[in-house]
Subunit: 313 residues, 3 copies
Amino acid sequence: MHSDIQKSVYKDTISPLISAVFKGVSQVIFIENAFTGLLITIAIMFSSVSLGIIALLSSLIAVLVGKLGGANRTLINQGLLGYNSVLAGVAISLNLQGGTRFVIAMAGAVVAALFTCAIMQLMEHLNVPALTFPFIILTWFLLLASYRLGVFRLNPNLTPQDLSHLDLHFEGTMNWIEGTVSGVGQVFFQDTFWSGILILIGIFWAGWKLGLYAVLGSVVAMLTAYFLGAEVSMLNSGLYGFNAVLTMLAVGVVFDAKSRFAPITGIIAAIVSVPVTASVTTWMMPYGLPTLTMPFVLSTWLFLAARKALPNI
Amino acid sequence: MHSDIQKSVYKDTISPLISAVFKGVSQVIFIENAFTGLLITIAIMFSSVSLGIIALLSSLIAVLVGKLGGANRTLINQGLLGYNSVLAGVAISLNLQGGTRFVIAMAGAVVAALFTCAIMQLMEHLNVPALTFPFIILTWFLLLASYRLGVFRLNPNLTPQDLSHLDLHFEGTMNWIEGTVSGVGQVFFQDTFWSGILILIGIFWAGWKLGLYAVLGSVVAMLTAYFLGAEVSMLNSGLYGFNAVLTMLAVGVVFDAKSRFAPITGIIAAIVSVPVTASVTTWMMPYGLPTLTMPFVLSTWLFLAARKALPNI
Amino acid sequence: MHSDIQKSVYKDTISPLISAVFKGVSQVIFIENAFTGLLITIAIMFSSVSLGIIALLSSLIAVLVGKLGGANRTLINQGLLGYNSVLAGVAISLNLQGGTRFVIAMAGAVVAALFTCAIMQLMEHLNVPALTFPFIILTWFLLLASYRLGVFRLNPNLTPQDLSHLDLHFEGTMNWIEGTVSGVGQVFFQDTFWSGILILIGIFWAGWKLGLYAVLGSVVAMLTAYFLGAEVSMLNSGLYGFNAVLTMLAVGVVFDAKSRFAPITGIIAAIVSVPVTASVTTWMMPYGLPTLTMPFVLSTWLFLAARKALPNI
């Protein structure tokens, strides 16, 4: 009997909890698959074990916020409350310094979960998904706050730059393979080759079509950015790719992709995300803020909303 | 007979007009109470008689705009068309210089009333209140306009600052009592002790619970900002407090606060408003714009929208 | 028979296509009239033949995007899908340099058409028109992108300016007639007298009332900007006027102008658009971006949304 109760507690509470936590990680890339989430977590741990733990804790926090707050159970179990918290937790840990940053990251994960609920609610009428908008705004605000609050210590990489005195480096040797893989890895802020490969395996595990589109999105971004004359260093580290990967998946496969031309629309959307990445990067420069996934959010909203008036795309 | 007609004119026209004008002042802090409005007006007159008159004239202008425009009578009589005009009139008078600023303030009050109607209309579907959003955007735009229009003379305190050359002062002696009282007073741009006390009396007059929450909001802001390492001078003059006071009242008591955990949610929202205050302050620095009540608006929208998906908070 | 088929092809396909293309040009100024579109195109060709061709090609591209995408036929035929593409194509050609800018302009026209569909869809619930919002955001983003992409070469006129070191020129001789005419011409980026006159003739052709309001809007802007102390050079080249002209027409005549006070509301809206022009100009200065028609969009949204709550205005 005792062991039966244990089993049932495991089956009813712990197992769905663990599943929801890992799905929170995989939902960053539109996948509801705990094993994919596990592979991605391992990929993050390649570069930093503590960062992987932060990702899981952030996802767990979102699940708890959802449960305590009385959110829709399906949303919680699908990991849809958690992906913004995962990204916020990781991004805050990477962009701040000092031991307090982990506490701030956890607090950020709480607010990200609330923010996700809020934006889902506010955008319900628009029939357009919230995507990673809450994560982006939250992270930008937290980084801005660090200019006025002594406890928040900004990573010195993030320096505000005046547009009239830009210092760009267009020269360099293209590294097509690494750039393409990093374009996938950067979705989770990973720019090392093997982390990217592992994340890619996770995506292929959830569906070969998704994996193929992810690679295609990254290749499209590399080519577009190359021909538009982007900085080679940004290309090689996948900084133009990750927004294109997400845009390609969102527009080409995931959301409302009923038309047979949806894959082509996805490619066009991925191409558009490249100049949008350049724009958002410029826009944020006077504030020293990272671009994050804003180009993906804007490009995807554009094409998903347009699709409602243009059923063939 | 003659005196009867006079009485009836008074009862039907002048009395509700005066009531609406003072309620326009009290609605800044979510209170529909003419006497509270009167106390707040006196508190403003403590620091400047003309500023108090501006507040009342702005409120009157909003009522007239509503009446001429054919707005819903209940909205007008509750002072809900006026609070943005009151804040705009006062903020413009304080942030511009020269005699023309009073004319600009009155024109600003007209536009603030129109803007309030517009935002109420646009946000109807979202089931989230307009709050002081119209006042903030209007005031920011007017101050920005002063860089290009000779007649608008900006207060020299408002200097654009480059984020890469910040000059902050973290040292100083905390003044907990004055800071807490100023946190309430700053809702109406008042940083003197007795003005704050009088405004607080006005709030308690409308309901002891509101008064208690206002004080609690200000204390929460002081503590949070202190532990996050905010500038002491900003803390002592209540500049972190007023957004927390408004957020606490809005989330904890006023809007949709049905859950028994609403007061706790209010406290959390007040805490969140502190880093948001730091963020908005940084965001506006390159433009030399004051933060105003934007942190309150953003924090309150966040929690009110989240509450729709999380009924327990 | 052969000639009959030819005629029918012409009548069914080519004629409505040509009509839709020219209406795309005239819809910039709320007019559905192919001949007005033709006159405006000629006016643009006065200053640059290639620019006129760009305008027509951009309009054609929008029609094709609509047809391929399966958009509502009425929208396409009325030119409502095209006006943002026309403006985007022209603005991109004017604000970038080098031969590649024409390719970028055409790509911009495609995205502008998609963006127009998207915004129409997203704003449906709000009962407020999309206006030229898609054009503005698209053009700003493209210009921002040029800071990071070598292929995009920004016109050197567009230099980011620090608000703390502004260099304004208030002195100069007012040129009332030219300023007023340019205020109309600048709707299509034309600041020469005869282009403005020809555009004005096009507007009068579509309706004398529209022509009259356009002139009135420009005069109101000149007077308001003059008394508010605007830079004379900006006034003389119509840079305060074109937003007022569009605002006057939109609020005073075109959208929901049922009240008999609508013309007066239009005048007030045109007056308000002047400080808003100053504000947006300041706001964009650190990014070196042109103001475009954002002041018109913001002022018009303000008054159209307010009108829903204030039926008399």
